[in-house]
């Protein structure tokens, strides 16, 4: 099956949904299933590739885009509701 998410930079801990992915559905950035989502991910939104503890960095484009506002799990949607953004 074709991928439904893309990792933009090898250092990233998020992938971007290429289509709407429902809760509990498989996430594939290549041929293989990486994990299942624990929340629904709208297309073009970010899903966590690994668990991220409170205060730890969320990385996209190989750069820090914010810190986890709470303990976050692999497969979780990450956006303004659970991300702390400093310096803006």
């Amino acid at each position: 099956m074709k991928p439904n998410a893309i990792i933009v930079h090898p250092a990233d801990n998020v992938a971007i949904a290429l289509e709407d992915i429902g809760q509990g559905e498989d996430v594939r950035t290549g041929e293989e299933v990486l994990f299942r989502t624990i929340s629904s991910i709208a297309y073009s939104h970010k899903v966590l590739l690994e668990d991220v503890a409170t205060g730890q960095d969320v990385i996209k484009y190989g750069e820090i885009i914010g810190q986890a506002a709470e303990d976050l799990k692999q497969g979780e949607w990450v956006h303004t509701h659970n991300l702390t953004i400093k310096g803006e």
Binding site: I6, E19, A42, Y61, G66
Partner: protein
């Protein structure tokens, strides 16, 4: 070393096109410039709305823009059409073309005895220039003669995921090949200053990066007030961007990953090889003019919503961020980076962009060229006219 077939110029630059340009020094001369161009198919009129009625800063900026356009490497010959009482100096424009070793001429409507006489004389000159440039043949040159301008317009949620990162791969390739790459649109760098500063070749350049980004942040707040943040972000947030920084990261990725060797002003030609930042507006059409004046012979333009605009003397390669828009506007798009959403890798897409750049600089026409998406020149200004 990889080479391309281009038009060698006396000043050492190399064109990928060989255009005869009719450029007014002031908007009052547009009618004559357009009449000459209508009578001589194949020449390019660079019509614009500037040239007078402005203060010192803008006059410096506009003079530099028009002068540097006269020596863009793709320009084979220049006819400057002036009125006679404008502030922008037509003679200065012709002089720049002369110093760049291009056939050049200048006609002033008030000296020639009006628009009809100027047009008649201009037609003869343009015909002669056209014959001259057509006699020049392409020769092989190394890729370090290429300056690539980068632009994104009508971005969508996938611009920063598909088209822009793939363009970044092509930018890295051209920098490694010794060429110049210009990243611009300072507005779209807001929030990424610390990241770009880290990539600066030295602390002075890092300081310039910080200063130009701070200046556009201040200007955005000055123009939009408390709406500044909202104006930049709500649509982007729906599209999955959690912050302005994240959105900007998706823009600056077009410039790839290499060291930043210089920061230049709008329409200023980088003196350094490799990656430069041109401090300029986010408005697409003004940005294209600045990139052309800065010496770009070819441009990459990523678009999400779909923008057909080109530039009269520079091939602009259109890269769609989604297949949906690519198919909807297929006649205007050169490449479909939306294929990444269907499983194509960023590296593969980067290779396709690289391949198309090579074809275009060797003479292959872009969609914007085929469709004659020239328009008029939009030129950045800092202040209003008086």
């Amino acid at each position: 070393m990889e080479t391309f077939m281009g038009y060698g110029r006396a000043d050492g630059s190399v064109g990928v096109r060989n255009h005869v340009v009719i450029i007014p020094s002031v908007s009052c001369a547009n009618g004559v410039a357009a009449a000459i161009a209508r009578a001589v198919p194949g020449v390019k009129p660079l019509l614009h709305a500037m040239g007078c009625g402005r203060g010192g800063d803008d006059m410096t900026l506009h003079s530099r823009t028009f002068q540097n356009l006269c020596k863009n490497p793709n320009v084979g010959a220049v006819l400057v059409v002036g009125l006679g009482c404008e502030i922008v100096n037509a003679e200065g424009m012709a002089l720049v073309a002369a110093l760049a070793g291009r056939p050049h001429a200048r006609l002033m409507i008030q000296e020639e005895g009006g628009s009809r006489k100027t047009t008649a004389k201009g037609i003869e000159i343009a015909k002669e220039f056209l014959a001259q440039v057509r006699a020049v043949e392409r020769e092989a040159f190394p890729l370090d003669k290429i300056t690539l301008g980068l632009e994104c317009g009508g971005s969508d949620a996938f611009s920063g995921v598909t088209a822009n990162p793939a363009v970044g791969k092509a930018s890295d390739w051209l920098v490694e090949s010794g060429g110049k790459v210009i990243l611009t649109e300072t507005t779209e760098m807001i929030g990424t200053s610390h990241i770009l500063e880290r990539r600066a070749a030295n602390s002075e350049i890092a300081g310039r990066i910080k200063a130009v980004i701070e200046s556009v942040e201040a200007k955005t707040h000055q123009v939009l007030g408390p709406m500044a943040k909202m104006a930049i972000s709500p649509g982007n947030m729906d599209g999955g961007m959690s912050s302005i920084r994240e959105k900007s990261l998706g823009c600056i990725i077009k410039g790839g990953t290499t060291r930043i060797n210089q920061v230049v002003e709008y329409a200023e030609i980088p003196s350094q090889q490799g990656l430069s930042i041109m401090h300029g507006p986010g408005y697409d059409t003004e940005s294209l003019t600045g990139l052309a004046a800065a010496g770009s012979q070819v441009m990459l333009f990523t678009t999400g919503r779909g923008n057909p605009i080109g530039f009269p003397i520079v091939p602009v390669i259109k890269i769609a961020s989604t297949s949906k828009m690519y198919h909807a506007l297929e006649d205007d798009m050169d490449l479909n980076a939306g294929a990444i959403l269907e499983g194509k890798s960023l590296d593969q897409m980067g290779d396709e962009i690289r391949q198309l750049i090579l074809e275009v600089i060797n003479g292959e026409q872009t969609r914007a060229e085929i469709n004659e998406q020239d328009g008029i020149l939009c030129v950045y200004s800092q202040n209003t006219s008086f």
